[in-house]
């Protein structure tokens, strides 16, 4: 380690990642709070009333960011799980495990806010349509991942089993994303596209993107805070956590 070469895997061990994560959490949490404040201001006081949907459309400012995060976090979780399987690194599996509850929360919020938006616009809280059903499957995949992990006593074996589930489940993410194109569905098409001009007012789009960024920062802060707790739980028998618990008193 002292031969002058940068040790790239230095932060791949829980012991060295723990303090780094601890320094990052307040920054991401602060960014999340500031962006949420700005996003909510735009959502309620800058973005105009929608001509067709009235004020009900304002649900978009939580619904779309939550839905994006639920899909994005699943891919990130599966990537960490895959890395853990491939390289058998402790930290990768812990990261995957730390992301799952936050991802599940966003999947739930996507369904919840979607139901509350569906009622005034479609006249129903729920339909078994491709977009809604595949998002529900995503929620169940998160729950299945956590339940499977919890059901196996040895955390390292649990990591591997749950990682396989996470990797197989990745197939659902493009299904959710393209469901509005592949099947006839009540759900509207993609809100934002790189290839098309935005289909909504600039302030609406800005508010949505700011809220998405806020949720992103929140997710990073939450995942890092959780991975720190997981490190302590799993390595409670090791010397480095003992020294840490002494200092944290």
């Amino acid at each position: 380690m002292t031969n002058g070469v940068i040790h790239w895997f230095r932060y791949a061990s829980p012991q060295s990642f723990y303090p780094l994560a601890g320094r990052m959490v307040p920054w991401f949490a602060t960014l999340a709070a500031l962006l949420t404040a700005a996003g909510l201001w735009i959502a309620f006081f800058v973005a105009p009333t929608d001509a067709q949907q009235g004020e009900s459309y304002r649900i978009i400012f939580v619904h779309v960011p939550a839905s994006w995060m639920s899909m994005f976090l699943y891919v990130v979780m599966a990537c960490w799980a895959g890395l853990g399987l491939a390289f058998n690194t402790r930290l990768s599996a812990m990261m995957a495990h730390a992301i799952a509850p936050t991802g599940a929360m966003f999947a739930f919020l996507s369904l919840w806010t979607g139901a509350l938006w569906g009622r005034p616009t479609w006249g129903t809280y729920w339909v078994w349509d491709a977009r809604l059903t595949s998002e529900l499957v995503l929620f169940f995949l998160y729950l299945g991942y956590m339940a499977l992990h919890a059901a196996i006593d040895d955390p390292r074996r649990g990591d591997r089993a749950a990682a396989l589930l996470a990797l197989v489940g990745v197939i659902n993410v493009p299904i959710i994303y393209f469901s509005v194109q592949w099947w006839n569905t009540l759900h509207q098409g993609a809100s934002v596209s790189i290839t098309r001009a935005p289909s909504m007012a600039a302030t609406m789009l800005t508010g949505m993107l700011v809220m998405a960024l806020a949720f992103w920062m929140y997710s990073i802060a939450a995942a890092l805070a959780r991975v720190r707790a997981i490190m302590l739980e799993r390595e409670a028998h090791l010397q480095w956590t003992h020294e840490l618990a002494e200092a944290a008193k």
Binding site: F44, F45, I59, M105, W112, H242, A245
Partner: protein, 69 residues
């Protein structure tokens, strides 16, 4: 888009009660935002509790380790 596109509090909402009424969609709009906020706040509280519980486990393990040695 209707005519009220200027931005700013007085443009979107005539009064505080107008704001909370959300054009008749109060249940749906606030139901979405409040539950989202509650979930996030709840997760933060759970994370705090999990951290202190983890630290408690580590300390217990440390004591066990020291008494065994």
């Amino acid at each position: 888009m209707d005519a009220r596109t200027g931005g700013g509090c007085e443009v979107n909402w005539a009064s505080a009660s107008d704001f909370f009424a959300m054009g008749g969609y109060a249940f749906y709009v606030w139901g979405s935002f409040v539950v989202t906020a509650a979930c996030m706040a709840g997760e933060v509280l759970f994370l705090r509790a999990r951290r202190s519980e983890a630290l408690r486990i580590v300390r217990a393990e440390k004591v066990r380790h020291e008494t065994a040695a």
